[in-house]
Symmetry: C2
Subunit: 160 residues, 2 copies
């Protein structure tokens, strides 16, 4: 039985599905890299989306980053995201969701980042995401390992 999406998720429903594509990573402390990515947004009938993401480094062919968590409505025009990273980081973001002709634009910024004792230092994370029909684009900026807040990732995915 297919469960209907919770009405609070109306603004986020266009994210639902499996998305695949490629992106570019860059930061002053690393060599630029290209990666493939799979993102899955799902729901259970409750007022949040489940989210999981994995990447593969296209230079090395090895598994890259991963993250899991939940995307929630934060009231009209607002979104809240809670994430865990296997690198020992928790990420809590708040921001806005704007309606486009054929999708939405999200802009969120970290309001709490938790770091385990063995995690790299991350100070701020900012995520912008655009969905238009079956195309999802996103940018991630961050301040980490002593560097000022700046672009880190940019990717384009398609719904599969």
């Amino acid at each position: 039985m297919e469960v209907e999406a919770h009405p609070d998720l109306r603004s986020l429903a266009c994210l639902l599905g499996t998305w695949r594509g490629e992106g570019d990573g860059f930061y002053p402390t690393i060599e630029p890299f290209r990666y493939s990515e799979e993102v899955v947004f799902d729901h259970t009938g409750k007022p949040f989306l489940t989210y999981r993401q994995t990447t593969v480094n296209l230079t090395t062919g090895l598994p890259g980053h991963a993250e899991v968590g939940y995307w929630r409505s934060g009231g009209p025009g607002r979104v809240e995201i809670v994430l865990a990273h296997p690198t020992g980081i928790t990420e809590l973001l708040h921001g806005t969701i704007d309606h486009l002709d054929d999708g939405v634009a999200l802009h969120v910024r970290s309001t709490d980042i938790g770091l385990t004792n063995t995690a790299k230092s991350v100070v701020s994370i900012e995520r912008s995401l655009w969905v238009e029909r079956d195309v999802l684009r996103y940018d991630v900026a961050m301040s980490a390992v002593g560097q000022p807040h700046q672009p880190h990732l940019s990717a384009t995915l398609r719904r599969v």
Copy 2:
């Protein structure tokens, strides 16, 4: 091809697998409840375990809590856990892992809890977990919604 577990996970390897069982929930602000639970620990060859958990309230038959995240070695005898809850909470825990004759005992306490604007107030979370062969028991204590730190959950699961 089965990937071998990362050597850093030696102390946590006995968690790997799917666990099912039942538990009791209690807190001064709620009616006591009994729940069924499924926990899955997996790995990808990297130095962390993936973790996901769901419960069903046995009184109502409805989906209850869920959480996802990663469990990491924090060096010899130490463990680090990063979690996201769909209720708008991120949870970061540090603690100890002790070897038993047939398993391990973990004791961790929150060092950072992130709350979205719409989340309930949670101040501290403490988790104790014992694995002996194919039995996993855990207790969770917390300080939340203005209450002092105290027991909240207790469950016994079996490896399936």
